[in-house]
């Protein structure tokens, strides 16, 4: 049948294997918002496809944590990651409720980084170059995060002197200068991989950036939390504010770093690795000249609101910033996956989709569930190579 969206002749199914459009439905109304605000071309696939390429059950603009941060997980693994995230957060908050604040702090600081490590292993994201990728993403992020935390202690007081410091000085150092430095450090590692042809799509860039960002956040938070471990298992403090702080550390802060740096790195990949025709696909959000200030703004805002707002209000605003960063990351991942739709030319053999378990032709999208096949794990196996078969002739001009 002919897809009403891309006009290719494609196998019968729920979704077009070439562009991921839901067959049997009209071409959806375009994202006018993305076009108007971010300059996304109205003819681009981002503006035309509303379902998130890595998880067609969700819209592109839905700020879902697990599907945005770990987009290459198949549906079955997604559940395990969701349970781990929610369960981990429950453990952190339970430790807080038991007034075991130092233990809650450490559990919170490692929760999302732990899931990121499992994700890297689970989907084999580093393919055949594990050392190089892990070194410049997770290890780089953790090492610079630890170094950054020590630098913070050197340039800005963390002890009693902090109480004598003026609000203006705190705002300048802890609200502006140090967060700016953190963005540069988190991004520097992944950019080392930018010249490698092996990692040539925006999804790779987003994954590397996210890995570096979350490892940085985890490393820095653990070093800072180390000082807090000096006052016994149950230091004095009110449970309510501590629970809010633990939620900050377990979810809000690492998600902000991970999503923002992931989206920023993805924008670099889109600009410098994507085919020339795709570089405008994300509008202004895909151009480093706009993406860098936006990323800095998100990280700066995250720091400033913690200085200036009451703790609960700060958490609410942080979660709103998380949502913005997650949607940006999703758009980058989405565009990265749709790029491959344009690149792929021939159908492969019939395979079993790892996401839904149904048969589909190997191309770009699963014809049953609509997931982008490039969003699924990259596992090398002993299976013999498969030869692509030519696609059916496109009907008409």
């Amino acid at each position: 049948m002919r897809c009403p969206s891309c006009h290719n002749e494609v196998p019968d199914g729920n979704f077009c294997v070439v562009c991921g459009h839901e067959l049997g439905k009209d071409v959806p109304e375009r994202h006018r918002f993305l076009t108007a605000v971010f300059g996304v071309p109205s003819e681009s696939l981002l503006a035309r496809r509303r379902r998130f390429a890595a998880n067609p059950r969700e819209g592109v603009l839905r700020p879902s944590v697990v599907t945005s941060l770990f987009p290459q997980l198949p549906q079955s693994s997604m559940i395990a990651f969701r349970v781990s995230l929610v369960g981990g957060l429950a453990v952190v908050l339970a430790l807080g409720l038991a007034k075991l604040f130092p233990l809650g702090l450490i559990a919170g600081a490692v929760l999302v980084p732990t899931l990121a490590i499992l994700y890297f292993v689970d989907v084999d994201v580093y393919e055949d170059q594990p050392f190089r990728v892990v070194a410049v993403t997770l290890l780089w992020g953790a090492a610079t995060g630890i170094g950054y935390a020590f630098l913070v202690r050197t340039v800005s007081p963390t002890g009693a002197r902090l109480f004598a410091e003026s609000n203006g000085h705190q705002l300048l150092t802890r609200g502006i200068l140090l967060p700016l430095l953190s963005v540069a450090l988190m991004l520097a590692g992944p950019l080392i991989l930018l010249p490698y042809r092996r990692f040539n799509d925006a999804l790779d860039g987003a994954t590397f950036g996210a890995g570096s960002g979350v490892a940085f956040a985890g490393g820095a938070l653990i070093v800072h939390a180390f000082d807090t471990l000096a006052d016994g298992f149950r230091p004095p403090g009110q449970v309510g504010p501590w629970l809010v702080k633990l939620a900050d550390i377990a979810i809000a802060l690492p998600v902000l770093s991970m999503a923002t740096v992931g989206a920023l790195a993805g924008a670099f990949w889109l600009r410098y690795r994507a085919p020339v025709g795709d570089r405008r696909a994300l509008g202004r959000l895909g151009k480093p000249v706009y993406a860098v200030p936006l990323a800095c703004l998100l990280i700066l805002a995250g720091a400033v609101i913690q200085l200036e707002l009451p703790i609960l209000l700060a958490l609410i605003v942080l979660l709103a910033l998380d949502a913005v960063a997650l949607v940006w990351l999703r758009a980058v991942v989405h565009v990265g996956l749709l790029e491959e739709a344009v690149e792929a030319e021939a159908y492969g053999p019939e395979i079993t989709c790892a996401n839904c378990g149904h048969p589909t032709h190997a191309h770009t999208f699963c014809e049953h569930c609509g997931v982008a096949l490039a969003a699924l794990p990259k596992i090398r196996t002993s299976a013999p190579p498969v030869s692509p078969v030519p696609p059916p002739e496109p009907a008409g001009g």
């Binding site: 198949p74 693994s77 604040f101 002890g159 002197r161 230091p235 004095p236 009110q238 790892a354 996401n355």
Partner: protein, 232 residues
């Protein structure tokens, strides 16, 4: 057994490497590992319990007055003065109505903040509240009353003039993460015209060293004199 060919399986047909069960076990194990390590660190760094030298409820600390020789003097136009040892304390900040003194040792930092205000504007209680509320903005939640019996302030006074006081505790909060636990004590007294408050913040948690630090701070507070006092 098939030979390794290194060829990729068609993208989309490969499932995840770990699977649901191993992911859950892995996440739980890693989290437990880090929490276990944190338990070890907290146990190792936990301050030793304080030896209570005095019977509960009775002030019995040794006299902490010291000859006032070779000390630096701070005179406030607000109407008070005090003396401090320049080799122990560094002036962190000062204005006409306050001075901040910082003492740093390898066990932590301590800040002493002595300030004065007309009693018609601020009573001793109000002055303590204002300072504690202000300092509380830099800890998680707010400063809470430190209920540890060995941290109680017994016989609160400023410059040997009886007043009010209390101890508080909290954990420093910054946008970059949590930092040191602190204890804060504030005492204030008035002569009817001028209220003087002395507030300390210390990150020293080891009780033995903390006691030494507080004795040093106490000596400075005891030198405070109101305008019109003998020896002003």
């Amino acid at each position: 057994m098939a030979a390794e060919t290194g060829q990729p399986r068609p993208r989309g047909s490969a499932g995840s490497r770990l699977g649901r069960r191993r992911t859950l076990i892995g996440a739980g194990a890693l989290l437990a590992l880090f929490v276990g390590a944190a338990i070890g660190v907290v146990a190792l760094r936990k301050p030793a319990p304080a030896k209570v030298l005095c019977p509960p409820g009775a002030p019995c600390a040794p006299p902490s007055g010291k000859p006032l020789a070779n000390l630096k003097t701070f005179r406030s136009p607000a109407g008070f003065r005090l003396e401090y040892d320049g080799s122990t304390f560094k002036v962190q900040g000062q204005a006409s109505d306050y001075i901040q003194l910082l003492a740093s040792t390898r066990y932590g930092e301590s800040l002493l903040w002595i300030e004065g205000a007309p009693s018609s504007q601020l009573s001793p209680q109000a002055m303590i509240k204002r300072r504690i509320d202000d300092l509380g903005g830099r800890v998680i939640g707010n400063l809470v009353i430190d209920a540890r019996p060995w941290h109680r302030i017994l016989g609160a006074s400023v410059g040997w003039r009886a007043g009010v006081g209390a101890n508080y505790a909290g954990t420093i909060d910054t946008p970059q993460g949590t930092a040191d636990p602190v204890t804060v004590g504030s005492v204030a007294a008035t002569n009817g015209k001028l209220t003087i408050a002395a507030t300390y913040v210390t990150t020293v948690t080891d009780e033995r060293h903390r006691r030494g630090v507080l004795t040093g701070l106490d000596q400075v507070v005891n030198t405070a004199r109101w305008q019109g006092d003998l020896g002003f």
